[in-house]
């Protein structure tokens, strides 16, 4: 039997979840199909976690419009949907006086894009703000409105809010065929076939393949790999603001930034990659990131690196977001080529695209959608008295499983029972940070595996790191 929906969103990354959430505020039935076992499993899980102020994008581009609106939405939604966000500001640092005109240009572009509170700083002002910066810093563009966000936390918040408003999620459901008919599209996945009146393509690095299933208009996405290193929270305050490098002859540069959880993040480089699944880190990539980052902060403590990872940006040949209905495929909407500042732009893309889809389908907004969501309590961050109160209500909040990040059993159980909930070790980790600390899950893996097996009522041999095939234990 074919399931019927008004809208099928292909892709459960931050963009797909943002679109699904915005659609769920309309009188529409929504289904998200995701090829992995969980949301936030592609580009969303490996990026810089930056809320860009909006001076980068070319004025008039879709990127510029979505960025500035998105930054405001992220700030606002972090309150109502309870996800970690901090407005720490950003600096684009120029290391060569000859490049100062380019900094000025960036400043003016920011003004044109409508970015608030931008300021140009001289060398002394830069060093006063960020003492760890290289003495070579000749000036900087300061954007106080930039911030850092938890990419997983934001995506979960969007997904849970969408689910609360009736959206459903289908995991391990890669779209293998998409065919137009008189009333919409048949969406085929290995497990099920569903029919939707409209389709939103938020398939990340695969968006060109999905697009090509229904449209003849060329679209070509190049996965552009970026490698990162994450440092211990002990050195998370080395810089306060996100430190970018002014793009110049030496390339786009890399950033050094505190994460919203207090680690220090260094990266990413950029390397075009033919394989849409290749998220392997490389020795050359690591060396590249290290060498570039030292230009900004000469004393980066490399012995504090706790992990490295790589992500794939979905770069479209036209160098802009492709957002909207495909001209030759009525009812098929793209959210494609969503590379930086895609994380920032996601809620704006969701808001705008949902409006377009609703208009196409003639759907009215819901009278009383659920507009707030509470995150999983971060128990260790509570004052002792409140923490004790919570533990009295649920003793599992007093059993610390992950010692490095102080994550309790209660939080892990919550992560599993949210909708959509964690079904894998990575799913738990991305929801509550179990195993994200300095020991990288060395101590808490056995306990977390046991909790996941117990809560899902599966044998521990079926506990996976992520999708099936990533079982941790051998039969």
């Amino acid at each position: 039997m074919t399931e019927q929906f008004d809208v099928c969103v292909i892709g459960g990354g931050v963009v797909g979840c943002a679109v699904a959430r915005a659609l769920s505020y309309y009188q529409l039935s929504v289904c998200v199909v995701e090829k992995e076992e969980d949301i936030a499993s592609g580009t969303t899980k490996a990026n810089s976690g930056i809320v860009h102020a909006g001076y980068d994008a070319k004025p008039g581009s879709v990127k510029a419009r979505m960025n500035v609106r998105g930054a405001a939405l992220v700030r606002q939604l972090s309150q109502t949907l309870d996800f970690p966000y901090r407005q720490n500001g950003s600096l684009v640092v120029c290391f060569n006086a000859a490049d100062l005109p380019a900094l000025q240009e960036l400043y003016e572009r920011g003004l044109q894009n409508g970015v608030q509170d931008l300021r140009l700083l001289n060398a002394e002002e830069v060093r006063a703000l960020e003492p760890a910066l290289s003495a070579a810093a000749a000036g900087a563009l300061y954007a106080p409105t930039a911030g850092v966000v938890c990419p997983f936390g934001m995506t979960q918040a969007f997904a849970e809010n969408a689910a609360a408003n009736g959206a459903v999620f289908r995991f391990l459901a890669p779209v293998t065929a998409l065919a137009a008919d008189e009333t919409g599209y048949m969406v085929t996945t290995p497990g099920t076939t569903l029919h939707a009146r409209a389709v939103v393509n938020a398939a990340g690095v695969y968006a060109d393949r999905i697009h090509a299933m229904v449209s003849r208009i060329p679209m070509h996405i190049t996965p552009r790999k970026g490698e990162y290193m994450l440092m211990d929270r002990e050195v998370g305050d080395l810089v306060t603001r996100t430190i970018f490098q002014l793009p110049g002859k030496q390339g786009k540069g890399v950033l050094v930034a505190p994460t919203v959880h207090g680690n220090l993040l260094v990266g990413p480089n950029a390397q075009d990659e033919p394989d849409k699944e290749n998220t392997a880190t490389t020795a050359s990539g690591t060396a590249d990131v290290r060498q570039k980052a030292l230009r900004s902060v000469p004393d980066l403590p490399w012995n504090k690196v706790i992990t490295g990872f790589a992500g794939l940006r979905a770069h479209e040949d036209g160098d802009d977001f492709i957002v909207g209905e495909a001209p030759d495929a009525p009812g098929f909407f793209n959210a494609a080529g969503i590379e930086s500042p895609g994380l920032t732009a996601a809620p704006a893309i969701g808001e705008w695209l949902a409006g377009q889809v609703a208009a196409r389908l003639g759907a009215a907004p819901k009278a009383n959608p659920i507009t707030t969501r509470r995150g999983i309590p971060r128990v260790a961050e509570l004052p002792p008295a409140e923490r004790s109160k919570l533990i009295a209500q649920n003793p599992a909040y007093g059993v610390i499983v992950c010692r490095c990040e102080s994550i309790s059993e209660g939080e892990i159980v919550d992560a599993i029972h949210r909708t959509p909930g964690a079904v894998s070790m990575d799913g738990i980790k991305r929801r509550v940070r179990q195993g994200m600390g300095r020991c990288q899950a060395g101590f808490c893996t056995p306990a977390a595996m046991a909790i996941l097996a117990r809560e899902l009522a599966i044998p521990v041999t079926r506990v996976t790191k992520n999708r099936p095939g990533s079982e941790l234990i051998k039969e």
């Binding site: 003793p395 010692r403 990288q440 056995p446 234990i473």
Partner: protein
């Protein structure tokens, strides 16, 4: 606020031995705080034998060794909180702990003994390139899963790092039917005890490849293979030496790191080399009344030495509680020329015991050298050593008498020298 004379953080071998010794030295009000659901710490997963040769003059398994101390703690009636984590220590020895029964509780300690042990260096800190699939475990995690949870982590195994846990796990996994193909070690020498190389690798025909490292991890979801490369004297991979092993598991035994996040919260100074607190001959940190022992202080290779050291910490904490004053003029110990560090880092001749055992590790493999102790510029002790290696902890004893006889000393130096 609750008060206890002595709070011991950690109920592993160090914490238990410290508790027993402190009670025997007269401390009545002791509380041991342990994060796991049982006492004994990492010994519980060390089901192989070889523990206790020095302490009990017999060969015990890890759990048996732990049980001896647990038994004493129980007989002495020392209270232990289990499944309880210490979240914070202040420089004034206020401790915040959390558990399911009591919630978040603050207590004041008269003295504190840090005995939190160490953790393993994870893959991310090693910068190993490749995918991040399932099937990469630190050796200790695999050991826990296998020995305590009864779960086999893999069938075809490559091990990187020749630390003791890795060597022990090579044998353990072989005995469980897994095929351990190779142990690779970045350095030109092993990081583990020689006896483990013989008993865990050579006896089972498992090759040890020195000066090799992992240069690729294959498999997006579960490990499907690992590429090893030889490294040059600069420890960088040599192109063209790649060899790929098909396997489903990569175990890492690449070093242990003392767990001192709480020590840092208390403002305690740490030694850059050991990663543990800087201590005087009483094993007291620079936070008065806070002592440290076991692997949180520096990583040991034998639990017997941990117990001995911890007992000293226990006795010294007892002395502190009965009013022993602060150190007067401690003499710094300098680790030089082949000696990487010393524990303790200073000795107070006025207050020291009749003799103090100074433990240290050397920086390289040395044959037929001397270990020399200098009081300022005077060599006062020269021990001939046929072999020394970084994987084996060394020790030298400094006596109070020798220091007093020598007259004022401003520095004690340990170094490795050619035989004169």
């Amino acid at each position: 606020m609750q008060y206890h004379d002595l709070v011991i953080i950690g109920g592993g071998p160090a914490g238990l031995a410290a508790a027993v010794a402190a009670r025997q030295a007269g401390v009545q009000d002791i509380l041991v705080i342990e994060r796991d659901e049982r006492l004994g710490g990492i010994l519980n997963q060390c089901i192989h034998n070889g523990f206790g040769l020095h302490t009990f003059h017999e060969e015990l398994t890890g759990p048996e060794y732990a049980a001896r101390y647990e038994q004493q703690v129980r007989e002495l009636g020392i209270p232990c909180l289990l499944r309880t984590i210490v979240a914070d220590i202040s420089p004034k020895r206020e401790i915040l702990y959390v558990n399911a029964q009591e919630g978040a509780v603050t207590l004041q300690a008269g003295a504190v003994i840090l005995a939190m042990g160490c953790r393993e260096r994870p893959r991310g800190a090693l910068g190993l390139p490749g995918y991040r699939p399932a099937g990469i475990f630190t050796a200790g995690t695999a050991q826990r899963l296998m020995n305590m949870e009864g779960q086999l982590v893999g069938r075809r195994v490559v091990i990187l790092g020749s630390g003791d846990i890795g060597l022990i796990m090579a044998r353990r996994m072989t005995l469980e039917g897994a095929q351990v193909q190779v142990v690779a070690e970045l350095m030109p020498y092993s990081g583990g005890l020689n006896r483990n190389i013989v008993q865990c690798l050579q006896d089972y025909g498992i090759p040890l490849k020195l000066s090799h490292t992992v240069t690729a991890i294959h498999g997006k979801h579960r490990v499907t293979g690992v590429t090893l490369s030889a490294v040059g004297p600069d420890r960088r991979p040599i192109p063209g030496t790649e060899e790929t092993y098909e396997c489903d598991t990569l175990l890492l035994s690449c070093g242990l790191l003392p767990e001192n996040e709480l020590s840092k919260a208390a403002g305690i100074s740490l030694d850059r080399v050991t990663g543990g607190p800087v201590v005087n001959d009483r094993l007291e940190t620079d936070c008065p009344g806070v002592f440290a022992c076991g692997n949180v202080l520096h990583v040991h290779d034998l639990v017997d030495y941990v117990s001995e050291e911890a007992a000293r910490a226990g006795r010294n904490a007892a002395a502190f509680l009965s009013g022993a004053g602060a150190a007067a003029a401690p003499i710094p110990l300098a680790a030089q020329q082949g000696v990487r560090y010393t524990v303790p880092q200073c000795i107070d001749p006025a207050r020291m015991d009749d003799s103090v055992t100074v433990r240290f590790r050397v920086a390289d493999v040395y044959r037929d050298r001397c270990l020399t102790v200098y009081y300022d510029d005077t060599p006062v002790k020269r021990q001939k050593k046929r072999a020394m290696a970084p994987g084996e902890m060394e020790q030298v004893v400094i006596t109070k008498q020798s220091l007093l006889e020598h007259g004022p000393v401003s520095r004690i130096t340990l170094c490795v020298e050619d035989p004169a």
